[in-house]
């Protein structure tokens, strides 16, 4: 503990969002600083690295207008914290936690470090409570459960926001106990996309909290907004017993911001210029989802990732997929056929599905039905390649049947528009399909 704040006007270098301050007497890693502009404006920043009496600071905002000599830095002796209270519900904040809905800031009940603490693996409860999203390819084949992190892998031009919005609107949790809240985090979103989401949030019956960092707002805020969102989510879930669904869109913008800051720090670049620690950094966000033994609430996460060049092996979707418990992959091919949601179930996966389905969760025949649908659809898809070479006429009757099944599966099971289907309807649709082709 320092007894007073220290003010330094010894900035020696400014590079994009990074500042070097010299002759610093006392500083800690992660400490919050206030950067004072020559005209008196203030902005927050964080200590990244200390080397002797030289300190590297990352500013949380636009550094335009800073100079060497007249600007100064105030060290606060505390790490970055988020104010928390039940009054956050229904509010909209900027990426730096300033209200942007016109109402004044609430009175916080407490302040908590935004980086959070890792959940002890021994205190994690097994995620096994089914969440009904209302979409057959998710509920039936890639079931989401409470406490899971399941990203949507989309590509430019695909309706990922329509899907995320529909999930927000339609989701029902298996059991309604302490209430259901959506935490929505917009990272580098365009105004067009953002206004689409705000309309959806306003129409929702459940409570929500929104953090919005727009495309033209400071890049460094993109690193902060998801952390604020998750800190709020953890508070609502594990202190107030609520079931929280966190939607972060778009993680690609987050990773690009990470790369931008890393390059400014002159760190060694990894694949495609992204820093080598991106896996650990992403994990520090995604792993905050979960349930805790003996506590009522849960944090479920649905991040949206846009795959650059439709490439699932690009570092962003790749590292995401290694951390999250599965992925929902959208397909350009299905979208062009007019199917909504255009979900390709073959590369999609929910790793926690097994414990959330079956007797007591959904229906006893869930696993069996899902397996059969998968098996025959995969076969049909395989045969499409053959069809492209030899033509339909050259194929055996049994093969033609599989081709028809794959088409009907896409048109009737996957394609459902905006109509909500409950799990019974989903499984019945699948069963009827199997019966019609005598594949049961």
């Amino acid at each position: 503990m320092r007894l007073s704040e220290y003010i330094y006007s010894t900035i020696s270098s400014i590079r994009g969002p990074l500042l070097f301050v010299e002759k610093v007497f006392s500083a800690r890693v992660g400490e919050v600083v206030r950067i004072r502009f020559p005209e008196g404006k203030e902005m927050e920043g964080e200590v990244l690295k200390i080397d002797g009496d030289t300190v590297l600071i990352q500013a949380y905002g636009e550094t335009r207008g800073l100079d060497i000599g007249n600007s100064s830095v105030v060290f606060t002796d505390s790490v970055k914290r988020a104010p928390l209270s039940l009054d956050v519900i229904g509010r909209v904040f900027s990426g730096s936690y300033t209200p942007i809905d016109g109402a004044p800031m609430f009175v916080p009940e407490k302040w908590v470090p935004v980086t959070g603490y890792p959940i002890n693996p021994a205190s994690r409860a097994r995620p096994e409570e089914f969440i009904e999203t209302g979409f057959s390819p998710i509920d039936g084949l890639n079931t989401l459960v409470k406490g899971q992190k399941l990203p949507i892998f989309s590509s430019a031009g695909l309706p990922s926001k329509e899907l995320a919005a529909a999930i927000l609107k339609n989701s029902r949790l298996g059991s309604e106990t302490g209430g259901f809240v959506v935490v929505f985090v917009a990272v580098g979103l365009t105004y067009y996309e953002y206004s689409f989401y705000t309309r959806v949030l306003e129409e929702m019956r459940t409570g929500f909290v929104a953090f919005a960092n727009m495309a033209d707002e400071p890049v460094v805020e993109r690193l902060l907004a998801p952390r604020f969102g998750l800190t709020v989510a953890e508070y609502l879930a594990f202190e107030k017993g609520m079931d929280v669904l966190v939607v972060i869109t778009d993680m690609t913008n987050y990773c690009d911001a990470l790369r931008e800051v890393s390059t400014a720090r002159e760190e060694l670049p990894g694949r495609r210029g992204y820093p080598g620690y991106m896996y650990s950094d992403l994990a520090s966000l995604y792993e905050r989802a979960g349930r805790i033994k003996g506590m009522a609430g849960s944090v479920t996460m649905l991040p949206v990732v846009t795959m650059p060049e439709d490439d699932i092996t690009h570092p962003i979707p790749d590292l995401t997929g290694y951390i999250t418990e599965g992925q929902l992959v959208l397909s350009r091919d299905l979208h062009q056929k007019g199917i909504f949601p255009p979900m390709d179930v073959l590369p999609s996966l929910s790793r926690l599905m097994q414990s959330g389905i079956g007797k007591g969760h959904t229906r006893e025949d869930h696993r069996k039905t899902a397996n059969l649908l998968y098996k025959y659809y995969a076969k049909g898809r395989d045969l499409r390649r053959l069809e492209a070479i030899v033509g339909r006429d050259g194929m055996a009757e049994a093969d033609k049947l599989m081709l028809d099944f794959a088409d009907s599966f896409e048109n009737e099971f996957v394609n459902q528009g905006v109509v909500r289907r409950n799990i019974q309807e989903t499984l019945d649709t699948g069963l009827n399909l199997l019966r019609r082709f005598s594949l049961e």
Binding site: V29, G52, D53, L268, Y279, A283, L346, P347
Partner: protein
């Protein structure tokens, strides 16, 4: 000895301090974070900190304990769940609540618990270093206690003892306790290495038949995400015929670990009928826990595995995933500003990995028993690209390679082990064991199975051009049988009873399929049409 923090960069801290030795353990800052000295430079030491460095300030004290980073070895490790620094997670939860904050030290073992000790040596008998003096019952196992010194026993206890109590005393006053410390980076000694001759049965047909693994061997299975690495690893942890399993969740998902723990507590070992947890030690360092502790976690685990090997047990070490360990190494190396090698990994990646792999093997222990340590390690190559440095470095030392194939996984063919690209160097050595103990037909049937799959592959290329209708009857029959082998023999659903297949069942199953093919072929030759043959 004390010094003060001079600089902080990510997980590394530099400190003004003389008299430290490389790899000494130190306590960093007011929060007493655990660290290890990784570089000495005149009077500046660089320390790798195993906990989150956020909030650490310049000028804070650093204390040395004059000892390397160690693990505690003694009864009570089984059923335990530890983090990368061997802190017991269950007790950490009881004391700190559901979240882990930095700077808490809790001993891995319970020093107050009483164990019933039975001596195997008498007063006056001589002992050598590493010799067994007695044992305690740890679940279904005899947990042997070793002497750390050479000498003659002057006093030995019998009955209820805690880990704080002296178990025996040697002439000259040296005392033997039930619990020891051992530096994690130093392999435990043995009297000699033996060659491998016995298989480690995994219960996975594709592995046991086509790519068998030897006790004391090493295997890696690389695969992109969604290829079922974790499920396969957990299936092997459940069903392998081994005495003790040490499972390291290295930089992986917390929810999956929770699922696994739940399962292990309720499932039984198919070989002995005991609960799985009773034979298991878990080391868990999930992806959001500190990076440097992730680097240490595999060493913590292998040291505990070697400890049980020294008691003459067959130990299986499973790690998921080695890539996360390599990434931790890379992160630390880059914060030390070392010259990077391929893709930013340090140039010592391959030699570190080789050093780790070589801790596996069959040995005659110092006490004359035979024990083995087998390793099965998963690798997560970025983008599913096997040419990346970690996979390539592992291939140079691993004895078996199970390649997980993304296209098989998309077709829901699990375990998604590619049967053309995978290999096992132990195949020939342990074939004799299978022939002697399971079936005389083992090698012949294996070759038949390979051949059918190989021929299917080439036929498939033809079929893609002419369509399956355009193939001859004999070829269509082969395609049918090969499909049967793929779907019913190579595939194994991890969620049903079929998840575990003993070798007798494995060989009977493939035997049946090969026989069916041969009798059907014979009928075709007699002029019966394929449709008739398939019906009957």
């Amino acid at each position: 000895m004390m010094g003060r923090i001079k600089g902080i960069s990510g997980p590394t801290v530099s400190v003004n301090m003389k008299g430290l030795k490389l790899y000494d353990r130190v306590y960093v800052g007011h929060a007493m974070l655990t660290g290890e000295v990784v570089r000495l430079d005149q009077d500046v030491a660089v320390i790798q900190v195993y906990e989150n460095t956020k909030g650490l300030g310049i000028g804070e004290p650093v204390k040395s304990v004059n000892m390397p980073l160690t693990v505690r070895l003694g009864p009570g490790l089984l059923r335990g769940m530890f983090d990368g620094l061997q802190r017991p997670l269950e007790r950490l939860r009881e004391e700190m609540g559901p979240f882990i904050s930095s700077g808490t030290e809790i001993y891995a073992l319970d020093y107050l618990k009483k164990w019933s000790f039975s001596p195997l040596k008498k007063k006056g008998e001589p002992v050598t270093r590493g010799e067994i003096v007695g044992y305690v019952e740890e679940g279904p196992f005899k947990h042997f206690i070793f002497s750390n010194f050479e000498g003659r026993i002057s006093r030995i206890m019998d009955g209820e003892l805690s880990l704080n109590d002296t178990i025996a005393e040697l002439e000259g006053g040296k005392e033997i306790f039930g619990c020891n410390e051992w530096p994690v980076r130093m392999p435990r000694p043995y009297s000699r290495r033996l060659s491998t001759w016995e298989p480690l049965l995994t219960g996975q047909r594709v592995i046991d038949l086509l790519f068998p693994l030897a006790r004391g061997g090493t295997a890696i299975f690389p695969g992109g995400f969604g290829t079922g690495k974790t499920i396969l690893e957990q299936a092997i942890a459940k069903f392998a015929n081994t005495d003790i399993v040490v499972y390291v969740g290295c930089g992986e998902r917390g929810n999956e670990m929770a699922e696994m723990i739940g399962e292990f507590e309720s499932l039984k070992d198919p070989w002995t009928g005991k609960y799985l947890m009773e034979r298991t030690v878990l080391v868990v360092n999930t992806s959001n826990m500190p990076v440097a502790a992730r680097e240490a976690s595999i060493y913590t685990a292998v040291t505990m595995a070697e400890y049980y090997r020294d008691m003459g047990y067959h130990v299986l070490l499973l790690a998921d995933s080695l890539s996360r360990w390599a990434e931790a190494l890379r992160e630390i190396s880059s914060s030390l500003e070392e010259m990077p090698g391929e893709e930013g990994y340090p140039t010592y990646l391959a030699s570190r990995l080789a050093g780790f792999f070589e801790r596996a093997g069959v040995v005659e222990t110092l006490s004359g028993k035979i024990g083995s340590l087998t390793m099965i390690l998963s690798v997560s190559p970025p983008g599913g690209d096997f040419t990346e440095p970690v996979t390539q470095a592992c291939l140079r030392t691993a004895g078996a390679f199970f390649m997980l194939d993304t296209s098989l996984a998309h077709r829901r063919h699990f375990p998604a082990i590619n049967w053309f690209q995978s290999y096992s160097l132990y195949e020939k050595v342990i074939a004799r064991h299978f022939i002697e103990h399971v079936s005389l037909q083992w090698e012949t049937l294996k070759e038949r199975c390979r051949e059918l799959l190989k021929r299917e592959e080439s036929l498939r290329e033809v079929a893609e051009i002419v369509g399956s209708e355009g193939l001859q009857d004999a070829d269509r029959l082969l395609m049918k049988v090969a499909e049967m082998i793929r779907m019913e023999f190579l595939c194994q659903n991890a969620y049903t009873e079929d998840a575990f297949s003993p070798p007798e069942k494995t060989i009977a199953k493939i035997g049946g399929m090969v026989e069916y093919y041969e009798s059907a072929m014979a009928k075709l030759k007699q002029g019966i049409s394929l449709e008739e043959v398939l019906k009957g």
